[in-house]
Amino acid sequence: MAKKAKFTEQAVELAHLINVQQNPDRNHENQEIRQDLLASRLRSGDRAAASELVDLYYRQIYLYMRRLGHNHHVSEDLTQESFLRAWYHIGQLQNGRALKGWLYRIAGNASRFYWRRHKGKKAISIEGFDVPVSSTADSDKAGDNEQLERLENAIARLPMKMRQAVVLHYLQNLTIVEAAEAAGVRKGTFKSRLSRALKVLREDII
């Protein structure tokens, strides 16, 4: 019986490997189905699913907070807060396939509430990123580094909504649909917000 189960397990793993190699274009669809199922498990109160959600997204959410301008400590706190809110409000998620965008939306709201609570503080963190030495060396080519630094500063100067749009789409690599969900606006509104932000950036770093 154990031998049979092991054989089945091997066959399934093999099928999985073939699947990944032969159907890379199905990855997005697979991801959506996985999100839907994960959302179902969360709605049913499954703690293991809550743990999986953390493993999948804690890095992304932390970096999202950092890129929105929070320092290390605040970013960690807001990451924790975002997950707590997600677990509590999972029942309100209508479409499980939009889990990622929805989680980003919660994180965005947590960030917004933080700025509101700390109005007097400087809006942007002066704490830089701890970029690994090798990657700084790689990007240290023909003035690109300087332009990147100017772009980084220009993004930090953008109004919050525009900055959020640039961060979601270009830095967090969310699709337009996911990013619009994360920003809590329609796709068209997000696109126009993003194009306005790009216009400002182009003018700012001439």
Partner: protein
């Protein structure tokens, strides 16, 4: 600045605006997962409405029990305080197996959706052993003659017809042995 140049710089920026995340952060977040993950549901069932009305759980339970007993008496069901009613109340408030049943409900909805899309779909529902993580919960045929399979542990993969036949044979054998 040219549009293409800006796009190029924006694509390089994620690597620059990144840093290693403290390894203990995931553990810190996980430690805050409540022991009993109680979900605030926004559905229109009785308990959710009570929660939305900000009535305490105890008061909500009392209202449900009194209403159930009142209805049972009104419609003349036997033993209004007897076993049947208590069982019904226990069933309505029970938390056990909710996870599994909700997953099956969601899968059933997904099954209906795939059927409407005209997919050649088979759903095994609660006929399979909940303990067997390799049992096939649902599968449907893809245009390339392969099959998308969702397993009991909710893993999803695309398999060839041969592998699907093997999985089905395994399920059938297991069922016969039991």
């Amino acid at each position: 600045m040219e549009e293409e140049k800006l796009e190029k710089l924006l694509k390089e920026l994620p690597g620059r605006m990144a840093e290693p995340v403290r390894p203990g952060l995931a553990g810190d977040v996980k430690r805050r997962i409540p022991q009993q993950l109680r979900v605030h549901r926004s559905r229109m069932d009785t308990i959710s409405i009570m929660i939305d009305l900000r009535i305490s759980r105890l008061a909500a339970a009392a209202v449900i029990i009194i209403t159930t007993i009142f209805c049972a008496n009104f419609f003349g069901l036997r033993g209004s305080t007897g076993g049947d009613i208590v069982e019904a109340i226990e069933y309505s408030l029970a938390g056990e197996n909710v996870g599994r049943s909700e997953i099956l409900t969601n899968m059933a909805v997904m099954y209906e959706g795939l059927l409407k899309e005209g997919k050649d779909v088979v759903y095994y529902g609660d006929s399979i052993d909940p303990e067997d993580k390799f049992a096939v919960l649902m599968h449907w045929k893809l245009p390339n003659d392969r099959y998308r399979v969702i397993f009991n542990d909710l893993r999803i993969m695309t398999v060839s017809p041969d592998v699907l036949i093997m999985l089905q044979a395994q399920m059938h054998q297991d069922r016969m042995q039991k």
